[in-house]
């Protein structure tokens, strides 16, 4: 087969359709097809020359983690051998490198940005990593058995979509390679996260809800951005993972007022609270007055003064140096240090640098 140097118009269209088909698979919220998943998992165990495992199904990764901890604590011999690394080396990495070699020798086109990166950034960088963070933060005294050994299935499907598209437009893989790749793809279409050990495997259902904003950032301003059937999940605000203890910012907005906003230590969470409550409403309620302003990199900076419980407070009103995907900039109110009379002085003093020498050749 001649090397494909550039995708045809028809292939470009196929690529878009293929990517969106896999995006749907990655974001699928239907109940897992556990029977189909079990069959593929047993097949993987056989490929590793392992006997069929006991396969246990649970409603979410959190329930899987609880179950793994409970089961392992009851086992007389303790934790069985994990199969994660064996699975990776024998059925994963070897396959990746073989497929990649075939793909690169037959296709001289970059699928990374149009296919792989788009799926990866939405499914793995965002969804999987926020679910990871959430589960990790809730472990308490539990061990991260499931978290550290799990495979992401639908949330890791970008690589399968990538190599399958090559196959779709004529790239030839060895028959054994395409068979194994299709098994991985079927697994991603069937179940949520799963983790294999010698003799036992824990499998999670898929989530029931996943919500993104128009820029494909995890987001819900009314509830969880990703929720499983047992109620476990995450809250996110335009891509920012809001921890459980602060989920009220999204679910109980009536609690938002200048006092609760000022009491928040974390600058990003305070920014989110202000976005929801309204920067201008905050200024109005606090009776804030502008005492100085300037521009840096064409962006306005203001120093505001307000009285809170009889005490004068100065607040620096600034915008982020980097653009958001929608072209806007995040806006922050930061408490100015005592003695600052201009935005420049307030910024310099916030970094502990003498305002006389402070400079910004770059701000991102």
């Amino acid at each position: 087969m001649a090397k494909i140097m550039q995708l045809t118009t028809e292939q470009e269209q196929m690529l878009v359709e293929h990517r969106e088909e896999w995006r749907k698979i990655g974001l699928c919220c239907d109940p897992a097809d556990f029977a189909a998943g079990d069959e593929i998992i047993r097949g993987f165990y056989r490929r590793l020359s392992k006997p069929d495992p006991i396969i246990l199904h649970f409603s979410s990764p959190a329930m899987c983690e609880l179950a793994v901890n409970l089961v392992f604590s009851l086992l007389k011999d303790g934790e069985p051998s994990q199969l994660d690394s064996q699975l990776y080396s024998q059925l994963g990495s070897q396959l990746y490198s073989q497929l990649d070699s075939q793909l690169r020798s037959q296709l001289d086109s970059q699928l990374d940005s149009q296919l792989y990166s788009q799926l990866y950034s939405q499914l793995r960088s965002q969804l999987r990593s926020q679910l990871d963070s959430q589960l990790y933060s809730q472990l308490g005294s539990l061990k991260a058995y499931f978290l550290y050994n799990r495979w992401g299935a639908q949330h890791w499907c970008a690589w399968e979509a990538y190599y399958l598209f090559g196959h779709k437009i004529g790239v030839r893989y060895e028959p054994a390679q395409i068979t194994l790749l299709e098994e991985w793809a079927r697994l991603s279409k069937s179940i949520g996260w799963w983790a294999p050990w010698d003799g036992i495997c824990f499998v999670s259902d898929r989530p029931r809800e996943v919500h993104f904003d128009e820029n494909r950032r995890l987001h819900s301003d009314t509830g969880m951005s990703c929720r499983y059937s047992d109620g476990w999940g995450i809250h996110s605000y335009h891509g920012y993972h809001v921890p459980d203890t602060k989920a009220w910012i999204i679910t109980d907005k009536a609690k938002l007022n200048p006092d609760t906003i000022d009491a928040e230590d974390n600058a990003e969470l305070r920014r989110i609270m202000l976005e929801i409550y309204g920067f201008e409403k905050y200024i109005e309620v606090r009776g804030a007055k502008e005492i100085a302003s300037d521009e840096m990199f064409g962006r306005p900076r203001r120093l505001l003064s307000m009285r809170v419980r009889g005490e004068e407070i100065r607040v620096l009103d600034v915008h982020n140096g980097s653009l958001e995907p929608d072209g806007t900039r995040r806006r922050f109110f930061l408490g100015a240090m005592s003695g600052a009379n201009t935005p420049h002085e307030a910024v310099a003093m916030s970094y502990g640098i003498d305002p006389a020498v402070y400079s910004e050749g770059a701000r991102t």
Binding site: D100, Y116, R124, A267, L334, G335, Y351, Y358, E360, T364
Partner: protein, 160 residues
């Protein structure tokens, strides 16, 4: 990943709550502190995101990965996708602790905000963060510190 160049006409650069200030040659010559972190596989974590888990970190400046999406680069490397991931690294960096040097810098008013002194050698390195544009840092010695804000009678370190 969009990369902004460090402006040689200025000494400072800010990436959100992280600030770097380039030392003069005379100031840098006084450095004799202990090594805190050396680039491990090309990266040094300067400041961790407490809630987000998003870090400010130094990575080596690869010739062909600068314009690609970070997620893709990491995943591609993990999956063995052979792109130009093995492009020659240009610079490297080491983070030092040096309280004596800090005390000798008249412009540094708050030594408690100091993370360390970053020494970049052999070419530029990249300061990156998932939610900020990256900054390309030239060779030299940089003060690295974090940001603080007032909260009424108290102070609090700015964190994300």
């Amino acid at each position: 990943m969009h990369i902004v160049n460090f402006d040689p006409n200025h000494r400072g650069a800010a990436q959100g709550d992280l600030y770097l200030f380039k030392l003069t040659d005379a100031e840098a010559a006084k450095r004799c502190g202990v090594e805190l972190k050396k680039a491990n596989r090309g990266s040094i974590r300067l400041l961790e995101g407490e809630v987000t888990g998003h870090h400010h970190e130094i990575v080596q400046d690869h010739e062909e990965t600068g314009g690609t999406e970070e997620a893709s680069a990491i995943a591609a490397a993990a999956l063995g996708i052979a792109k130009a991931r093995a492009a020659a690294a240009r610079g490297t960096a080491t983070l030092y602790q040096d309280d004596n040097l800090a005390a000798a810098l008249p412009w540094l008013r708050r030594r408690d905000l100091m993370i360390g002194f970053l020494v970049v050698t052999g070419g530029p390195v990249i300061l990156r963060h998932p939610e900020h544009d990256a900054v390309k840092l030239p060779e030299g010695t940089f003060y690295v510190g974090r940001q603080i804000e007032s909260a009424g009678a108290e102070e609090r370190v700015v964190s994300d």
